[in-house]
């Protein structure tokens, strides 16, 4: 009888223990999948906002092109600026027309003269936004400065919180799943104590005895991870249309199937690891 057969027999003969082990693993990997989606999604959203022009400075009408060019090189010399894009009055009109193309009344009212020219500036680091925007506000050429610091910093704070909660929850659930698996496999080892003793007396190596239990742990882990991943992925795919309309224009969804499968692969590896750790601990504790 090979160790897989022995392990399969162990699982079949105590279905409720197997169910408990698989359930806790499912829960753990549901949480891991869920928080992975949340973290990947929110960091994509942040990336999106970070890559957008973060400071927009509108120039006064009297600002001369020469002065504007001087200001541009001055800003670039600080070394903090990733890009500066000059938007002329005509460009602004094009953007305006594009945004309001469904409303002819608004289009008629506005000409290039009314709209200000502007700089769209992104910084290399988010922390430098404040300095740049201050410098622009002081400039005599600039009428108004708008920047998205608030959006990004709020999002960053949220992501940080999600990450902390997620990691804490995942660590806790992993520990709980290890404890539960150690207990379950421990019970099984206790039940087979006499058999194990006999096998050792007739020359079974420790690994011969350990393997079926380790394999059992791996099976629980992997089955749990597949179910947990399937539930989370199903939920994500189900919610994708709704989320897409919610995150209008921000390229987060749809998540590619390859990435989802990669997540499954990583989770299965982690699950096997958890299974091995717990059964090894159980064996260490009960197999003296």
């Amino acid at each position: 009888m090979s160790f897989t057969k022995t392990a399969w027999k162990n699982i079949r003969r105590s279905p409720y223990q197997a169910l408990a082990a698989i359930s806790i693993m499912t829960l753990t990997f549901l949480a891991i999948s869920f928080f992975t989606f949340l973290l990947v999604g929110s960091s994509k959203v942040i990336n999106y906002f970070e890559s957008k022009p973060q400071v927009t400075a509108f120039f006064k009408n009297e600002a001369k092109p020469v002065d504007i060019t001087a200001l541009k090189s001055q800003l670039q010399s600080t070394g903090k600026v990733a890009s500066i894009k000059f938007v002329s009055k005509d460009d602004a009109l094009k953007i305006y027309r594009e945004q309001n193309k469904d409303d002819p009344l608004l289009l008629d009212l506005v000409t290039a003269d009314v709209l200000p020219s502007s700089f769209e500036i992104s910084t290399i680091k988010i922390e430098d936004l404040n300095g740049i925007s201050n410098a622009l506000t002081k400039s005599s050429l600039v009428s108004e400065v708008v920047y998205q610091k608030d959006v990004v910093s709020t999002l960053s704070a949220w992501t940080g919180a999600i990450r902390k909660i997620g990691i804490t929850l995942i660590v806790l659930l992993s520990l709980v799943s290890i404890f539960i698996m150690v207990t379950i496999i421990g019970i099984k080892i206790s039940q087979k104590k006499e058999d194990i003793e006999i096998m050792k007396l007739i020359g079974a190596t420790n690994w011969y005895i350990r393997w079926p239990f380790m394999f059992e742990g791996i099976v629980y882990g992997i089955v749990g991870s597949i179910i947990g991943w399937a539930i989370a992925t199903g939920g994500l795919l189900y919610a994708t249309p709704f989320l897409e309309s919610f995150l209008k224009g921000i390229p987060v969804l749809p998540v590619s199937y390859l990435q989802l499968l990669m997540l499954l692969g990583l989770e299965a590896l982690l699950a096997a690891f958890l299974g091995i750790v717990s059964s090894y601990l159980a064996v260490l504790r009960y197999l003296k």
């Binding site: 009888m1 058999d195 003793e197 006999i198 007396l201 007739i202 020359g203 079974a204 190596t205 011969y208």
Partner: protein, 241 residues
Amino acid sequence: MIKLDKVSKKFGTGAFGLSDVSLVVEKGEFVFLVGSTGAGKTTIFRILIRDVLPTGGNVVVNDWDIVNLPKNKVAALRKKIGFVFQDLKLLLDRTIFENVALPLEVAGLKAAEAAKTVEEVLAQVGLLEHKDKFPIQLSGGELQRAAIARALVLSPEILLADEPTGNLDAATSWEIVKLLSDINKKGTTVVMATHNTDIVKSLGKRVIHIEKGKIVDDENHHAHKSSEEKEEEKKEEKKKE
């Protein structure tokens, strides 16, 4: 070959299981280990398979230095020594066939390869017809044979039998001893612990008498008999049968 040199075993309770036991069992010998319950017979056996370590002295089994044997070699040692346990230690949820196949399985043989060997051994002990029964369905003597079959299945050079006639009636006991004697004739060293003096006397083999952890008598002269004497002995045995 089994060699114990001034072996002592002191248990955790402070009681001496063995004190200063020295003995040599040559390859191919048949030796009785006699003594009352608690005399130390089982302790000697348990030391030989490294189930317990002696507190003093040296133990050599074939080429194995038992006292200094690394832990990872213990399994290999146990595969070389057949052990018929006093309480048999058969697995109750496995058939006789599966029980006897267990050492082969543990040794990593494929089921198909093992089956042939198992059937041979079962035939040798006369249990082939019962191979698909569970231990609970067999009589005491049959269970003893099953335990012997399991001990033999890896063709060990040494067979240790701990009170194999303990719970059996005289006729069945005699059958078991005859089986062990046949195994011995094929070259296996057999050490049998017993307190059945009738059997010991009638077989006329070497007897090591142990009491309270000490050897009180070792009729070692059998081991040094000439081959002619041994032949005569065999003839006598046949007459008896």
